[in-house]
Every structure is written in structure tokens, then in C-alpha cells.
Symmetry: C2
Subunit: 359 residues, 2 copies
């Protein structure tokens, strides 16, 4: 087991990465305020891991209230959140009852927002079971639900007490979701570590074959890169926006396709492809580097093109982006492999040329 | 104008108390991130003060998005909150758009929770227009909505940038609401300042006659007392619970009567009366002091008795209290006038005797 600590002062927390961690209650117990937890998961994850976690905790004398949500991005909404509140209240959970999220990004985001808002804040632990959640959504304290008008529009910054990433959960992950998680891993290399990007080029086959060691390295390095950014800018007042490379386009794609049609990571991959194009249009990124990015995304089995969203629709969807300031859309662009910048001064023609590739 | 600053480090904020402050945009402008605000109020307050605030801000070049809610505690729920989100999104409010609450506690609590959760946190300003909001809910960053299973069950700690308490708004406040606000003012004297309690005994007539100077003193002293407690214990891990004197009973009364039937302050007054009885039952508070408390509450026009909630129902409603820990109900009790303590070890017989007065 390897541990990376997100050094957020009095809200610092460890991320444990390894195998067979879900059955180890000793990792959890020291972080509990009372010997009682609400274990939130979904109907797909529950058959695999609910009994493992629940059994380990109950054997250690912890009372477990299971909360099972429907599966899918389309349920990341107020109605689902309300069923969580209802079950927490029905079970008389208190503000000292820890809420554990066992599942992917949707379970983590909803559970985290429930923890942030249940009785004005209950302790929270993440047990991410998808690659995407392990390398992205479980780190940094962003919690949210979607609104019909946009993704993650309602939410809070709320840090967990602890994150436990068990690599063995990746063995039961569908191929498509493994690949979607890879998109964010590749993003971490692109925005801040060219050497990690090269390592990914060399090891993409091992990762796709679910080599535990390669996966653990990719997850750990992602946690380190994202964690360092979060520590410097927890509330996304500046640098943290760099983590949204590919996301201004990506969120618009996800929304335009209809939530749940494309996976978040797939939309981000296509978004990174567009953002790389835009970076190249502006003379910031060389064409060979942009090609290397698309090639790695393709080798990872990710989409680099979008069909069915017109340039006009794309602009309209992007204007809803949370990163906009005073109506100006901001883009994260690459200066080179391993270095990203925030730009709010994109000439409309450059954006036009990039969006021209859309059907 | 007098100003008290809540000294919460990098989240410190001023509370301005005086007359004709709502028309003074200069107080607001320095706190805005962008020259754009969402001004949330309700249909009762809007005809009195919306144009005043809106006009002053628009004259200063600030774009104002008005959001008008229905009036009443029964609307402090998810449905109303959702209409706020919908309107913020429809008007393309950004995470830099300041949300201003112009109204009483319900408007402040909903707007504050909307600000805490809109795009993971927008700046927030309180302009409380009821005595209750000026001396209690606008100070200290508690925001929330109710759930069918209990009051304020969903919420967040979220501090405003600024509070502006205009005493002239109290001239249009219905008598019943003025009195309800007095309950929390009296509470502040009871839990931490016997001299202020005596000042209230001497000045209750001036306050009820809406003497601006007497009201301003009562509001300022309340802000100082509550602010000092909040600064020492922002997230209610300890001492802040003292501010809930009368509230364990009070919340149960409010819930048992049906939200909106009794005003919060009325329920708290009856709750303080019960809590004073319990303090006396336990030999902590002298009988003469308990009598002085009830007398002042009566002179303030507040209820000190409850009908229609049985002792059994009361116990059941109280068990939902957020202040319970590991299932133990905690009470705030008085040791003497001006000094409160938290107790979780109340003998059932003492509680039985106190509840025996219920119909």
C-alpha cells in the first residue's frame, strides 16, 4: 500500500492506494467520530463490494446503514440526493455519523454533497471503485449534483477524511469505464508532467491489460499531480482551473449528447482533442505534439471526434460553463506537453476554426 | 451607523447597524466580485424595500437580478430553493455573482444555502429586515432548508461577506414578529450577560415602542454576544451549542405545532421557559430567577406555555435534534442569569417533571 497525503492544513487527508484495502477496517476506524456509518453505493457496485466493506466494518463493531442508489449519471440529480437524505434521517443518522461513498464518480459526488449538507456537514470517506473516481473525482473535495441547465451546477467544496483506492476494484470495471478513467490520467500528464505522459505512451498496453502495478503507479502519480494543484488552490480561484483542461469542451459535449450517453472521460478525451487543436491554432502547441496527444487517446480507446453537435450549439452549451467570468469564456490550453495555461482572450476566428470540425 | 466585525480570520465580515442603510450602495460595492447581484427577497418584503435596494445598486452601475420567493417558514424547503437555482441559472448568474438576501430568516437561510451551493459557492450578503434575522440568523453563517423529518436538516456553514441591518425596516415589521425577535435577544442576555438582561428588563417598553436607539443597542449587543461565540466555535463543535438555549424544546414545539403555525421566536420563548424550569428542577437556577425570565418573556408578549403536544410526542420530536450525540439528547441549561452550560446527563425524572406541564 502506498499513501499520498493531500496537505490541506487542518483538513489534510490520506489517500491509500493498494490491493485488498476494502476489507481492512483498520484503515477506517481511526477516522470515525462515532461507531456508525452510512455506506452509500449503487446497485451495480453493491453486489461486488458492499458485503466486503460492510462485513469488515461490522466485525470491527461499527454499525452500518447501507444506502443503495440507482446507477448512472442521469441519476446525479436532486431526486436521488433527496432519497439519500430521506434514508439518513429515517436511520437517525447524526452529524457525527460518517458517510462513506463506495462507487464511482456519481456515487462520490452525490454522497459528498450529501455529507457536506446533511445537518450542515457530516464526516465523509471516499472508497472509489472506478479508475475515473480514483484519479479524479475522489481527490480535492469537489462535490455536486447536476441541474437540467448544466452539469455540477449545485455543489460544495467539501474534503473527505480519507480516501481508499483499492486497485482490485478495477478488475471488475467494464473496459469502457477503464478507458474513460484513462482520459483524466492522460490529462494529468498533459497539464503538468511530460515525463508521466511519456511513461503513459510506453505503458498504455500494460494499463489496458489491468496490470496492478502499472495501474497503481498511474493512480498514485495522478493523485500527486492533482493533489498538489488542489493544495495550492483549493477553491479554484486560479491554478486549479488547469485541471479542467478539455473540460470546457467536454462538459458541453456531455451535456449536448445528453447526460449518460457519453461517459465523462470520453467527453473529456474529445474535449482535450479540441483543446489541443485550439492550442495549435493559436501557435502555442506544435502540430507534432497535438498528434501525439490524439494518438495516445486513440490507443487508450477514447474518442477524439464529436458528431451531432453543431458549432453554434457547442458555443451555446459552453457559455454555461462555471469557469466563465463576467461572460467571458475561459479556456485551458497547452503551451507544450506538460504545461497548461488559462486564457480568456481567445480570438473568435481561432475558436471558429477549431469548432469547424464538428458535424 | 455602528459596525461590529465578526473576527473569523480570512472570513471576517462587518455587520453595519443603523438607519437608512439600504439605500447606501457604497456599503455594498467594495464587497462585490463583479458588478452583478441576485437580490433575493419575498413577496411581503419586496413592496417595501426591493426598489430601494435595487435602485441604489443600479444607480451605482450594478446589474440586479431580482428573485422573489413566497413568504413563510412553510416555503423553506427544497422546492423553493430549486426555484432560486432555476432563476440564477436562467439569468446566467456566475460563481462571481453576489447573492443578496433581503428579508427575514427564511429568505436569509434559503439564499445563504443557495449561495453556499450555487456553482459550489457564490459570494453572499445579508440585509436582514426582521428583528429575528438581525439578532440571530444573519450572524454566524448557518444556512439551511427544512426537511419533512426536521427543521434545518439540510444546510451548510457559509459566512456572508457583509451584513447590513437597517433599523428602519423594523418600523414596518408586524408586532408579532418584533416580539418573536425579542425572544432571541433575551436569550443572548440569559446565556452570557446578566447586565444586558437587566437592561432589557428596564427597556422592554422602549423596544416594543420601536425606539430606534433602544433597538439599535439591543441588536448591536446581540451581534456582539453571538459573534463572540461564533468566533470561538464556528462549526458548533462545543460552545456554540449554548446559543441553542431553549431550542431543543423550541424546535420540537415548532415541528409539533406544524411549521408556520408558531413563529420560531415564539417556540423558542416557550422552549426557554421549559429549559428554565428544567434548570430549576435540577437545582441549577433559583426559582426567583426562573420567575424573572418568564416575567420578561410575558412582558415581551411571548408565550411561555404550550398546548397540544403531549410529553411523549415532545420526547419523540426532540430525539431528532441535530445536537444529539450517539443518541443522547443534550440540553442547554442555565446555571444563573447570564451563564449557560451544555448537559447530556439529564435524569429522566427531571425531564418528566418539566414535561408534565404540557397538555
Amino acid at each position: 500500500m502506498q499513501t499520498y497525503t493531500v496537505a490541506l492544513g487542518d483538513r489534510a487527508y490520506p489517500i491509500h492506494i493498494g490491493t485488498n484495502l476494502l476489507s481492512n477496517a483498520e484503515l477506517v476506524i481511526p477516522h470515525l467520530v462515532q461507531k456508525r456509518v452510512a455506506l452509500v453505493t449503487n446497485e451495480v457496485v453493491a453486489p461486488y463490494y458492499l458485503d466486503t466493506v460492510r462485513g469488515a466494518l461490522e466485525n470491527a463493531g461499527v454499525k452500518v446503514v447501507p444506502v443503495i442508489l440507482p446507477d448512472g449519471e442521469q441519476f446525479k440529480n436532486w431526486e436521488t440526493l433527496n432519497t439519500v437524505y430521506d434514508q439518513l434521517l429515517a436511520a437517525r443518522c447524526e452529524r457525527g455519523t460518517t458517510i462513506i461513498a463506495l462507487g464511482g464518480g456519481v456515487v462520490g459526488d452525490i454522497s459528498g454533497f450529501a455529507a457536506a449538507t446533511y445537518q450542515r456537514g457530516a464526516p465523509f470517506i471516499q472508497m472509489p471503485t472506478t479508475l475515473l473516481a480514483q484519479v479524479d473525482s475522489s481527490i480535492g473535495g469537489k462535490t455536486a449534483i447536476n441541474h437540467p441547465a448544466g452539469k455540477n451546477m449545485i455543489g460544495a467544496f467539501y474534503q473527505p477524511q480519507l480516501v481508499i483506492s483499492d486497485m482490485r476494484t478495477l478488475l471488475t470495471l467494464p473496459d469502457r469505464e477503464l478507458k474513460a478513467g484513462l482520459a483524466e490520467i492522460i490529462k494529468h500528464g498533459l497539464i503538468s508532467d511530460a515525463i508521466f505522459f511519456e511513461w503513459l505512451e510506453e505503458n498504455i498496453t500494460r494499463i489496458l491489460a489491468r496490470d496492478m502495478e502499472a495501474l497503481a503507479h498511474a493512480v498514485l502519480r495522478s493523485c500527486e499531480i492533482k493533489g498538489a494543484v488542489v493544495v495550492r488552490d483549493e477553491r479554484e480561484l486560479g491554478e486549479r482551473a488547469l485541471l479542467n483542461f478539455g473540460h470546457t469542451f467536454g462538459h458541453a459535449i456531455e451535456n449536448g449528447m445528453g447526460y449518460g450517453v457519453w461517459l465523462h472521460g470520453e467527453a473529456v478525451a474529445a474535449g482535450m482533442s479540441l483543446a489541443s487543436d485550439l492550442s495549435a491554432q493559436l501557435g502555442m502547441l506544435g502540430a507534432p505534439a497535438a498528434q501525439r496527444i490524439k494518438k495516445l487517446l486513440l490507443r487508450a480507446g477514447l474518442p477524439i471526434e464529436v458528431e451531432g453537435i453543431s458549432p453554434t450549439k457547442m458555443r451555446q452549451l459552453m457559455s454555461l460553463d462555471k469557469k466563465s467570468r463576467d461572460g467571458n469564456l475561459r479556456f485551458i490550453l497547452l503551451e507544450r506537453l506538460g504545461s497548461a495555461v488559462i486564457r480568456a482572450d481567445i480570438p473568435p476566428e481561432a475558436l471558429d476554426r477549431t469548432l469547424a470540425c464538428l458535424a
